[in-house]
């Protein structure tokens, strides 16, 4: 959508490079994410999608380049520091504790306290609120996570991310382990988050999912950006071609691509 053109970026990554020993995982790559935007990140295996995201959250340290959050340069040493700036990552396996219940998982590691003890009343009440805000229905916040289906476990993972009031949520292969129904519901949840102004990056192999909720799509190949397009003005066919035979010359920015198309 053209209104995204003017949205000011909440995350800007400029000229990022990262090498693991002799392997150059990221080569001088740029990424921008507008406020409330859903960006799809696609590419073959070993294209560097996850590495790029880990550089953003501080799980990896970049070799060179800048990461700006709301225009401010950052140097996150670990994911906890990026969380403070409102960046949340949801991992492919959800990273939940199956032996604990939903509320305990939403507040994992930061259970509300009353004196020395865990404030259970507050914890369950707030967990209820978060789930309501997300518009997912689970039977009860007392349910153990391991007895939930994959889709609902994901809802808990998202609820957990939301409870930090993030500005950016990164979803790593969120639909990989989900049924069709659960995927539908996840996409609804993502749209709901977008309405609440949360920017999202979704790493996925399923182009259909990205085309359903995404605003923009970025294609990576061997650590480089080979394409950046608005969903509105591209097709799955074009994206597939970029994934297979894209080069840095085809990269452009979404706006350039749009202008080129208009010309």
């Amino acid at each position: 959508m053209s209104e995204n053109k003017t949205a000011k970026p909440i995350v800007e990554m400029r000229h990022i490079s990262k090498a693991f020993g002799p392997v150059q995982a990221l080569k001088d790559i740029n990424l921008t994410l507008g406020e409330g935007e859903i960006l799809g990140l696609v590419g073959d295996n070993s294209a560097g999608k996850s590495t790029l995201m880990k550089v953003m959250t501080g799980a990896y340290q970049r070799d060179s380049g800048d990461v700006l959050v709301s225009g401010k340069p950052t140097h996150f040493k670990n994911p906890h520091e990026s969380r403070e700036e409102g960046i949340e990552m949801i991992y492919q396996d959800f990273a939940l504790c199956g032996n604990m219940d939903i509320a305990q998982n939403i507040f994992l590691g930061r259970w509300p306290k009353k004196g020395l003890f865990v404030d259970r009343n507050r914890m369950y009440a707030e967990a209820d609120q978060v789930l309501k805000r997300l518009k997912v229905d689970v039977n009860s916040v007392f349910q153990k996570v391991e007895s939930l289906s994959g889709g609902r476990q994901q809802s808990v993972a998202i609820a957990r991310a939301i409870s930090f009031n993030p500005r950016v949520v990164v979803l790593d292969e969120p639909t990989a382990n989900l049924s069709v129904m659960a995927t539908e519901r996840l996409l609804e949840t993502m749209a709901e988050l977008k309405r609440q102004g949360v920017a999202q990056i979704i790493i996925s192999h399923r182009l259909t999912d990205i085309f359903e909720v995404g605003d923009r799509i970025m294609v990576m190949k061997r650590g480089q950006n080979v394409g950046d397009r608005y969903i509105q003005h591209t097709t799955e066919q074009e994206v597939l071609e970029l994934i297979v035979s894209g080069t840095p010359e085809t990269a452009l920015t979404a706006d350039q691509a749009l202008a080129g198309r208009a010309a």
Binding site: C97, N99, M100, Q143, G151
Partner: protein, 760 residues
């Protein structure tokens, strides 16, 4: 990846039988030997001595061959020493004239069947019932030992006369015409055959695949269950062969046969370059490791003859002596060797330390580190299958109670107490018996409180019984030998116990060893050090103020001059309770509240449930696990101090088998061996169950014909081992797997349409 070109046909394939580590080990051993010849020509210079060492290595080397398969599979077999002893015992009892007096062939058959049975049983529990290998084989270790003691009655069996009737078998233990013992020949044969099987055949390749990535191996169509089962059978058969070699040599057994052999064998395989995390190792390395470790064991055990110069007055005298350790202390060093060697693989081999050093010296580019340290060297955290959401469906107070994970333990404890009352109505309910029950309950209870934290964390502490002994020994030694006053001694004993816990924590958390390996090392080390401290000393009669820790409350009150009047209720209570029980209850309440109600307790459960998730959530899982391990050791240290105060003396067997009791208590009480579950209340109920079972089994029963019967203690231990295995299997299959529910569903499906679960 670039396109691969076909290698020319004449290219040499890797040998696979021997690698850099084995070559290095061989060079190291040659150097060690040369040094030994210079230092002590009497010991190392003679061919007899070498021959004797090789002969004694042979048995361990054969067991190491079997163990190599198990360890490469990412499993562990702690039962080899026990199997070795059991096989030797069965053969001896069958063959000996004073027992069954069978022929040589039936005796051998009986021994082999027993060995095979142990292997199959181990394999069945590990692969089919999915009980973690160290729990299965540790239990098998104790059960086997109980059988050896029970069958021999602790006596020595000998049959050197009858051995002459079957020279072809007993020749195995003799020196052959070429001048060396036949056992060395068997050792060489087993090693060579094993090397080829492991390096050149599909059996071997399947083993490496299973250990490297079991899931991938399963996807590739490798029957991983059968592969692991096979390794256990091979290991047990190797132990059987070793046991038979041993009886062929000794023509008799003692009840101590094979004790601690598993330590030497595992250390040998690990020193030989195998990874405790599976997928790496060669058989030749295990054999070389066996020689090295046996040599160290022998030197420690039998000492090195040396000449010392002693000055008496003005005259200098040469005194011939043996520099040697007290017998109990040897395991301390072997445990240390085990721990050091376990660290070799991840920290030296995987990090390419020697090739990198070599490259640096020559100024070449450094070869890369194979894998980064940290999480990579830890085994994947095993997770139980998903638990049922029974608790969500529970209705009413009884339903809610039954849905609790510790319900079974509480019910069982009550039932067992009633059973005792039924069996001995005259005695069971008495004040004396209640007092005794509370006492044995206190020791198990105290250990299981600490163990609850460790197990809820997803770790295990196999060292609690030994730490108990260490702290008891320290306490007794300091008071008696060093003249410390009781409170200082208690304090230092607690420090010693906590130090053991700190070592456990360092090894598991900082060095990334699996907890069962780290605490297994401590299992041997702590007891060894304790035995060293107290070797040959009579440690008893301590100050009365100290003994009060282990007395009845009434004695303590009387000591301070505030005892209540006889006949009052207060007096009865004070007579039934002991100081230690009160102490245990206080610890239990505090630990229970912390675990159930505070953020720290939640961190413990989160760490046990999913360590990675807990890390992402900002929980310092390393800290949580370290604190739990130290707390567990501290509980054991308290139990040790109380042990000395109660018995008024120190006995080297203090706390033996207690780790089994404590683990069983926690599992019965709702803990999961995979972590994430367990409550202090449940653990106490489990401890009560264990204490009651022990009391019931050692109850003197008056039979119908007027005779009385008491079950010997080693059979009781066998029984406790069985209880532990049943508890773990029950937890995996009933509590977590909801086996009962799936059986029910299968039956109800026949009668009507299946009720689909609501989840999508």
């Amino acid at each position: 990846m670039t396109s691969t070109t076909l290698a020319p046909a004449r290219r040499r394939l890797p040998l696979e039988l021997i690698g850099g580590w084995e070559v290095g080990l061989l060079i190291f051993m040659v150097l060690l030997y040369i040094a030994g010849v210079f230092i002590n020509p009497k010991f190392f210079g003679q061919t007899d001595a070498i021959s004797a060492i090789l002969r004694d290595t042979a048995r361990y080397g054969v067991m190491a061959a079997g163990m190599t398969f198990v360890i490469i599979n990412k499993d562990l077999d702690l039962s080899v020493g026990s199997t070795f002893g059991l096989v030797a015992t069965v053969f001896s009892l069958a063959f000996s004239t004073s027992y069954y007096d069978l022929g040589i062939v039936p005796s051998l058959a009986a021994a082999i069947i027993v060995g095979l049975g142990v292997g199959l049983l181990n394999g069945f529990f590990v692969t089919v019932l999915r009980v973690p290998s160290f729990i299965t084989t540790l239990t098998m270790l104790f059960i086997g030992r109980g059988f050896v003691l029970g069958l021999t009655g602790g006596k020595t069996v000998s049959y050197s006369e009858k051995a002459l009737t079957a020279p072809w078998f007993f020749q195995i233990g003799e020196t052959n015409a070429l001048g060396f013992n036949n056992q060395i020949l068997i050792f060489a044969l087993v090693t060579i055959v094993g090397m080829f099987v492991l390096a050149k055949t599909r059996w071997g390749y399947e083993t490496y695949a299973t250990g490297g990535n079991e899931l991938a191996a399963t996807y590739a169509g490798i029957p991983t269950r059968r592969v692991r089962m096979r390794a256990y059978v091979l290991s047990a058969l190797a132990a059987t062969l070793a046991g038979l070699m041993s009886v062929a040599q000794d023509k008799g057994i003692t009840s101590q046969y094979g004790q601690g052999a598993e330590l030497i064998v595992i250390a040998a395989v690990i020193v030989g370059g195998a990874s405790i995390l599976g997928g790496r190792g060669r058989l030749l390395g295990g054999a070389l490791g066996a020689i090295l470790v046996t040599l160290i064991d022998k030197v420690l055990r039998e000492g090195i003859p040396m000449t010392r110069t002693v000055k008496v007055g003005d005259v200098e005298m040469q005194v011939q002596g043996m520099a040697q350790l007290p017998p109990g202390a040897v395991p301390a060093f072997l445990g240390l060797i085990l721990l050091i060697s376990v660290l070799i693989e991840p920290w030296i081999i995987r990090r390419n330390v020697f090739p990198r050093l070599w490259a640096r010296l020559r100024g070449r580019p450094l070869p890369p580190i194979i894998e980064m340290g940290g999480v990579a060297i830890e085994g994947a955290q095993t997770k139980g299958s998903s638990a049922s959401d029974r608790s969500m469906r529970a209705r009413g107070p009884i339903g809610h109670f039954l849905a609790r994970r510790d319900a079974a333990a509480i019910i069982l404890a009550v039932v067992l107490w009633c059973a005792g009352l039924y069996l001995r109505p005259d005695f069971w309910g008495s004040l004396d018996n209640t007092f005794n029950l509370m006492l044995s309950f206190t020791e198990v209870g105290l250990l299981s409180i600490g163990m609850t934290y460790v197990i809820a964390n997803g770790d295990i502490d196999l060292s609690v019984g030994s730490v108990l002994a260490l702290s008891a020994a320290t306490c007794a030694f300091l008071m008696k030998q060093m003249g410390f006053d009781p409170w200082q001694a208690v304090f230092i004993a607690l420090i010693a116990g906590a130090a053991a816990g700190v070592v456990n924590a360092l090894l598991t958390v900082s060095f990334g060893l699996p907890a069962f390996v780290a605490t297994l090392g401590m299992f041997y080390m702590a007891r060894g050090i304790g035995a060293w401290l107290t070797a040959g000393r009579q440690l008893s009669s301590f100050p009365e103020a100290f003994n009060l820790l282990g007395r009845k409350l009434i004695d303590a009150l009387a000591y301070f001059g505030v005892s209540p009047a006889k006949g009052t209720l207060l007096y009865d209570i004070a007579a039934a309770l002991s100081v230690q029980t009160i102490f245990m209850v206080i610890v239990a309440i505090l630990a229970g509240i912390v675990l159930a109600k505070t953020p720290f307790g939640q961190m413990v459960y989160a760490t046990g449930g999913n360590r990675r998730a807990a890390d992402y959530a900002g929980i310092s899982t390393a800290r949580v696990r370290a604190i739990s391990l130290v707390f567990s050791a501290l509980c054991a240290a308290f139990a040790g101090v109380i042990y000395v105060a109660f018995l008024r003396s120190f006995n080297p067997s203090a706390g033996q088998l207690r780790e089994l009791d404590a683990i069983a208590a926690v599992i019965i009480g709702g803990g999961s061996i995979f972590g994430g579950y367990g409550t202090v209340l449940g653990a106490l109920a489990g401890a009560a169950v264990i204490a009651l079972i022990r009391a019931l089994l050692s109850l003197q029963l008056i039979l119908g014909n007027g005779q009385s019967f008491v079950m010997p203690q080693h059979w009781v231990n066998v029984f406790i081992g069985l209880i532990l295995v049943i508890a773990v299997v029950g937890d995996i299959w009933f509590r977590q797997g909801d086996l009962a529910g799936s059986v029910r569903r299968r039956f109800s499906r026949k009668s009507g349409p299946a009720r689909e679960t609501a989840h999508v």
